[in-house]
């Protein structure tokens, strides 16, 4: 019988531990498909974050490392500076990348560190049980904002793509989502481009993936995807925020 659909080679056979309806599985798959498509598994080194994806080191077939909370871009820098011919990516959540690891994120981008960053934004701390994230929406109810996120008390959500796009450093900054088939396909393309940029030695490429957390949002998986469309995407508009090569070509 002909195989018509299979698991990417860059994913191991380990069963994923994610909750039912969690989009991490889709995003892992998109990363693995990009690695397969580019034929780079044998020279890729991935870095797992602290958070829900902490055990991603078991799921990708390439060499893997588990970084301290928020430090993945620094750890990736250390690897890439020692082994510039390897392909280095980080896979980080919103608490990891946009809160505790903000300095590492901004400075890796400012240095145009030639790495690929996959930033999964689901507006909540999932692994610790649903606390307010730096990207939680105004009014969003979480375990640590039980009356809804009060921006007069704890400030406003951070839009990472818009922030990084103000820097000279990064090559490519884009925001995608995985809430429907069309968006998943676009997300896959953006992720592959972020790896291709590294192969081409263009520099820091970050893809923010708007994701969902049915468990901690207290929604069914379907309702969570609807909330991505109705609430998340309006606050975090999809699109390419910076593409130095494209901008340069357009200018010529």
């Amino acid at each position: 019988m002909a195989i018509v659909f299979q698991k990417p080679h860059a994913l191991t056979d380990a069963p994923l531990h994610y909750c039912p309806g969690c989009p991490h599985g889709i995003i892992h798959r998109l990363v693995a498909e990009a690695i397969d498509a580019l034929g780079i598994e044998g020279r890729t080194i991935g870095i797992a974050p602290v958070g829900c994806a902490v055990m991603a080191y078991d799921y990708f077939s390439c060499d893997m490392m588990e970084a301290a909370h928020g430090r993945a871009p620094a750890t990736a820098t250390g690897i890439k500076r020692c082994r510039p011919d390897n392909i280095v990516f980080t896979y980080q959540g919103d608490g990891d990348l946009a809160s505790i690891g903000m300095a590492e994120t901004v400075h890796a981008a400012a240095r145009n560190e030639n790495i690929t960053v996959i930033f999964v934004n689901n507006a909540i701390y999932g692994m610790t049980g649903g606390q307010m994230a730096p990207t939680s929406l105004p009014g969003q109810v979480t375990q640590t904002s039980p009356y809804g996120r009060d921006v007069t008390h704890c400030g406003w959500p951070i839009r990472i793509c818009e922030l990084l796009a103000t820097l000279e450093g990064p090559e490519y900054v884009a925001r995608v989502a995985v809430n429907n088939v069309k968006n998943v396909k676009a997300a896959g393309k953006a992720i592959q481009k972020a790896f291709q940029n590294q192969i081409d030695k263009k520099g820091f490429s970050l893809v923010e993936v708007i994701s969902a957390c049915p468990t901690n949002w207290g929604m069914t998986p379907q309702k969570a995807l609807e909330w991505v469309e109705s609430d998340m995407i309006p606050y975090y508009p999809l699109g390419v925020y910076k593409d130095r090569t494209a901008a340069k070509e357009a200018a010529e």
Binding site: T12, E41, G42, R43, T44, I45, I47, V54, M55, Y57, D58, F60, S61, C62, D63, M64, M65, E66, A67, A68, R71, A74, T75, A76, T77, G78, I79, K80, R81, C82, R83, N86, A103, E104, V106, H107
Partner: protein
């Protein structure tokens, strides 16, 4: 390099690191060790594969070291006391992942922002942990500029041999002082690193560098295994120097710059007929327990000379089983005891007082 050169202690570390095969330095500026970064910034870009990178923080720099070490590269960072506190999270991760790294602490007075003058007040932090969890680092305490160089090379070798962190615990005085030194006797050892992250090449299962073990029995087993390694280090790698200890009745114990002051005081004590001697631990972890245990059978009292409020003194008491009185002769906050102060402590120890 010429047979003997005049160098600052901090520069000696940097040059020795390069000669030991270190091609990657990640750091963040802090006094009194900036010469190390300055030297590396000048030299490494001129060497093939050499990378000097000034990070955005001490936290980022130690995590860059973590990543670089995971690839099997010889890599280092350097800092001073408050910076080492910031690096301590990373040190715990590096220790827990069993990757080798070389770290320098040119200590300054603390706690807090403290001062920028020499100190030995990070003894506890270096030898008892600093970061969270059960782990150890090899801690080397140079007393001369020559030792800044030779212990740096030894530090890199030991780090690779045992897949551990080696730390040079120096102080602002040795870091800043100049002495003639030689790089003639450098012996670089190399070790296979099949665990390193290099890319699978589609030829082997993936390597994982990790410190997470969610199953408690697995984490316990990991910790037990790591402590077997530490026991081997304790059995094989303790270093010390003794001076006038053959017939000593007063055993002065001091490391680093304090040991040089203490040596003068021991000589002065001898000239007035007091049988004093000096034990200088060169490794602070592993602590040279055996030589102190044996000395406890010989001397009447110990004097611990330190640039802190009394930290190593606990280890002296522990490994001598409190068999003999141990008194403290100390200055802190960036002050250094004079030979006269140490001599006075030796005289007091003869009389049985403090």
């Amino acid at each position: 390099m010429a047979e003997r050169v005049l160098m600052k202690g901090n520069e000696a570390i940097a040059e020795a690191a390069i000669q030991a095969g270190c091609r990657h330095y990640f750091g963040y500026p802090i006094t009194p060790q900036t010469e190390i970064a300055a030297y590396m910034a000048k030299r490494l870009p001129k060497i093939e594969g050499g990378v000097f990178l000034q990070a955005e923080s001490e936290i980022a720099s130690i995590n860059m070291v973590y990543g670089a070490a995971a690839t099997g590269a010889r890599v280092m960072t350097s800092s001073s006391s408050p910076g080492i506190s910031l690096k301590s999270e990373g040190l715990s991760y590096i220790a827990a992942s069993d990757v080798p790294a070389f770290v320098v602490n040119v200590q300054r007075g603390g706690p807090g922002l403290g001062g920028i003058q020499p100190s030995q007040s990070d003894y506890f932090q270096a030898t008892k942990g600093g970061g969270h969890g059960d782990y150890r680092m090899i801690v080397l305490a140079p007393a001369t500029v020559q030792e800044m160089a030779s212990l740096t090379v030894r530090g890199f070798n030991l780090a690779d041999k045992y897949r551990m962190i080696s730390m040079i615990l120096a102080d602002g005085t040795i870091g800043q002082m100049m002495e003639p030194i030689s790089f003639q006797d450098i012996q670089v050892e190399t070790y296979e690193k099949p665990w390193a992250l290099t890319g699978t090449g589609m030829e082997r299962p993936h390597n994982i560098v990790n410190s997470l073990y969610l199953k408690p029995d697995e984490l316990e087993r990991k910790n037990f295994e790591r402590y077997e390694k530490y026991a081997a280090v304790e059995a094989a790698e303790a270093m010390w120097e003794t001076y006038q200890m053959d017939d000593a009745e007063i055993g002065v114990v001091a490391f680093g710059i304090a040991a040089r002051v203490a040596k003068n005081a021991v000589a002065a004590a001898r000239s007035e007929g007091i049988k004093a001697g000096l034990i200088r631990p060169i490794t602070l972890w592993p602590f040279p327990k055996e030589v102190l245990r044996q000395a406890a059978d010989q001397v009447k009292a110990f004097v611990s000379v330190e640039l802190n409020m009394g930290q190593m003194i606990d280890d002296v008491r522990l490994c001598t089983g409190c068999k003999r009185p141990v008194s403290l002769c100390n200055r802190t906050g960036g002050m250094i005891p004079s030979p006269d102060q140490v001599l006075a402590s030796i005289r007091a120890a003869v009389k049985g007082g403090n």
